[in-house]
């Protein structure tokens, strides 16, 4: 089966190379026939990478420990549902997985553009497959998952060997959200290649109207959604597995996923200005380049192990290859951009500083400031190592100092932006739109003070969440009321029709509400508390208004791991809330320990209990209890974010009209072609 996988990768690499060359030739010669051949090579690339992935999954699922990859990352006792993620748990497999996702996106791009963007497609294929060639070369030459376990035999010659069992999967990865978190992030990272490919094709062909922008909007939103959801799932994993009571630690790999998401957010906002006003054309290209660059940079940080992180399961020698590839991306795209600057002139000027456009522009600057702050903090250890030969790690305080104010400014813009009119907004309009949200913000802050809650950032967060929530809900309310008055619909009908008329805008507002909900969740961090104690059977621990009673503390085992478990019954206000059972697990195959946290979630707060081990002197359980207020709202925010993005992906009335126009154009083209052939 190793041979089948190797044939898959070698053939994929060959098809990828062919597609790159055929794409360029097809574009240069404007040849339909060569372009068709390049498209078919892209589909062939997908089939062959799929074959390689199927071969590796087969090896994993059949416990073929003769395969070096399976022997290093799996074991017999590993449950079936944790065997699937073995594919992306190691360096070699994850690069193959990356290549496979790229092949899926590429095949979809080819299939969905058989009749449109015909002049762009040859170059789009070349760029997609250029990336494919890079990754399949890495899989084939640097991190090949299809090698066999070999031991030195008589005379020092190597011979293949099948160990009886494997080393097992990293225990930190044996968790449900870990099954979907990496694929989500990867779908996000990989997908950003599509808008990049279209932008570069538009630059090459000089078709720099907003055609490429309209084509890539959905191709950007989908990976952006996956990336955002992947980040939240990663937070959920860190919260429930790492056992330190938090969900975000500004870890380099966490930051790596946040960077392209921030740049992508800036892009999704600024494209609206180009579509509506024909402005910011250069800026949009720069943002697409930055988003793609940061996606590859994120993959590089995750896979190279260049900076230490909780994701330290990937340490390798692929760093230099990525550095070269990143260099090529920058050189190629920036040169192309400079060569085409004359074609990117703005069609309009900014009419006023107080307008929707300037709101978007400001939002872009702040998002870019966030990107720089996070990027600086993330690569600082590498820079300090290079300059002073000493690794200086930048911790959470650095990030919080910059990112909390930046986050609050962004939160304000989330609410204020939609209240501004396009082109220019007079003071009277501002007064009309801002009065009620500002009043809500003042009331919320007053309530906070009445409750004796102090602190600048806490007050600002409450003030701004109230402002944005009221402003955003107000958009739905005002729109629905207007429909009621003019079209005599009932309120629910009016909200529904309003949303469906412009799904992009109202889907966007739902995403804004998700951001508000996320900030409510973040707010809880200011009020978290932690208690630690030793407990034996019958011992009580009082934490805030909870009482924990230790019912038992013992050990046990399963085929996959051994465990220590504390059973604690929880009582609040004299009412039994149930049993919580935190564990310490020791995985037999990998010889690694991990904690299994017990969490009781409610909208108000989480009771988060960790079994930190056994006290060597008293033999009692070391119990750590965190009270984490409002954490549930972070996960709720993540789900609302996905729903809002899905809503924004539904074609709205205006888009349907545009699609009809495009269909007519395509039909006319087909008639022309038939005439030419006839």
């Amino acid at each position: 089966m190793n041979q089948v996988g190797s044939i898959g990768v070698i053939a994929a690499l060959a098809f990828g190379l062919y597609a790159v060359i055929a794409g360029v030739l097809g574009g240069r010669l404007r040849s339909l026939r060569i372009t068709k051949s390049a498209e078919r090579a892209t589909l062939a690339f997908f089939v062959m990478v799929t074959l390689a992935v199927a071969a590796l999954e087969y090896l994993i699922l059949t416990d073929s420990f003769g395969s070096a990859y399976v022997a290093s990352h799996s074991n017999r006792a590993l449950p079936f549902y944790y065997k699937l993620p073995v594919l992306w748990s190691g360096q070699e497999g994850s690069l193959l997985f990356w290549t496979w996702l790229l092949s899926i996106y590429s095949a979809l791009v080819v299939l969905m553009n058989r009749r449109r963007n015909r002049q762009l497609m040859p170059y789009v294929i070349s760029i997609l497959m250029g990336t494919g060639v890079f990754f399949s070369s890495l899989v084939l030459f640097v991190a090949n998952p299809f090698t066999e376990v070999a031991i030195a035999g008589a005379g020092g010659a190597l011979k293949s060997f099948t160990p009886p069992d494997g080393n097992g999967l990293n225990p930190a990865l044996q968790y449900p959200s870990m099954v979907i978190h990496p694929p989500m992030l990867y779908l996000g990272y990989v997908g950003m290649v599509v808008p990049f490919a279209f932008a570069m094709a538009a630059l090459i062909t000089r078709q720099l109207g907003d055609n490429w922008i309209r084509t890539t909007r959905r191709w950007t939103m989908v990976p952006w959604m996956f990336l955002g959801f992947g980040i939240v799932l990663g937070g959920n994993w860190a919260y429930e597995v790492l056992g330190w009571g938090g969900y975000w630690a500004w870890d380099p790999v966490e930051n790596a996923s946040l960077l392209p998401w921030l740049a992508g957010t800036a892009f999704l906002h600024s494209v609206m200005i180009q579509e509506k006003r024909g402005m910011l054309k250069v800026w949009n290209i720069v943002l697409v380049i930055a988003t793609f660059f940061l996606s590859i940079f994120g993959t590089f940080l995750t896979r190279s192990g260049i900076v230490s992180s909780v994701h330290a399961f990937a340490q390798s020698n692929i760093g230099p290859f990525f550095a070269v590839f990143l260099g090529i991306i920058v050189l190629f795209s920036v040169t192309l951009l400079f060569l085409r600057l004359d074609f990117l002139k703005s069609e309009n000027q900014l009419d006023s500083v107080v307008s929707r456009e300037s709101g978007f522009l400001f939002n872009n600057w702040v998002l870019l400031a966030a990107v720089f702050a996070v990027l600086w903090g993330t690569i600082f250890p590498i820079i300090s190592k290079a300059i002073e030969n000493q690794t200086v790690t930048v911790g959470a305080p650095f990030f919080n100092r910059f990112m909390i104010p930046i986050g609050l400014v962004l939160l304000f813009l989330t609410g204020a932006g939609p209240l501004l009119a396009w082109r220019k907004t007079s003071f009277q309009s501002i007064r009309q739109n801002f009065t009620i949200p500002l009043a809500a913000a003042v009331v919320a802050t007053a309530v906070l003070y009445a409750l004796r809650v102090r602190g600048f950032y806490v007050s600002m967060t409450v003030l701004l969440t109230a402002f944005v929530a009221v402003a955003t809900i107000g958009e739905f309310y005002k729109g629905a009321r207007t429909r009621q008055q003019t079209l005599h619909e009932n309120f629910a009908q009016a909200v529904f029709n309003l949303t469906m008329r412009n799904t992009r805008r109202y889907g966007g507002y739902v995403i804004h509400l998700a951001i508000v909900i996320l900030f409510v969740g973040f707010l809880g961090q200011a009020f978290k508390s932690e208690t630690k104690g030793l407990m034996a059977e019958g011992d009580l621990m009082h934490v805030k208004d909870y009482t924990l009673r230790c019912e038992s503390f013992g050990t046990g085992d399963t085929p996959n791991y051994e465990y220590e478990r504390a059973s604690l019954s929880v009582i609040r206000d004299g009412r039994a809330l149930g049993l919580m059972e935190p564990e310490q697990r020791f995985y037999t195959a990998s010889q690694q320990a991990t904690s299994h946290v017990a969490i009781r979630t409610s909208p108000r707060e989480d009771l988060y209990v960790v079994l930190a081990g056994q006290d060597p002197d008293s033999k009692k359980a070391i119990i750590q209890v965190f009270i984490n207020p409002l954490v549930m709202w972070v996960w709720v925010g993540g789900v609302v974010f996905v729903l809002g993005t899905l809503l924004a992906l539904v074609p709205s009335r205006v888009e349907r009209e545009m699609a009809e126009l495009r269909r007519q154009h395509e039909e006319a083209l087909e008639i022309q072609n038939l005439d030419a052939e006839g």
């Binding site: 404007r30 026939r33 060569i34 078709q207 396009w422 220019k424 005002k478 729109g479 207007t482 205006v654």
Partner: protein, 146 residues
Amino acid sequence: MLTALAFALALGLAFFVVKPLLAAGTDEGTLPVDVTLETDLKRRRLVVYDNIQDLEFEYRARKIAPQDYQTLRETYTTEAAHLISESHEVDRQSTEEAFIEREVAARRVRRKAEVVPDYTCPKCGFENPLPVKFCGECGAKLGVRD
């Protein structure tokens, strides 16, 4: 066995990939244009109409003050008027171009259909300038061809 099948699959795909290049006929199609001036203008007009509709809606929802509404409406209307006149100009040009092309095509057809008598001598190859029954050069009898 599986290795042979994987190899066969790769070969089959290679044939699938090069097949368009091997297709019979030498008349190779070119890639069609994605955006014409006409469709681009239509699309831009749709964007302005949408902006006007949005403006009307936001005004009715009291999101925009009357003075802003007036100014913006004027701007959008002017923009739409420009786009409409540009579209008309393109339509006019394309109508004229289409007319010329039709005329040229019709003439070509007529020309093909017209009988052009040939007075070239089949014996000596002399092209007789006038309609004659005998060659002016060698005197051979001309069988006039259509």
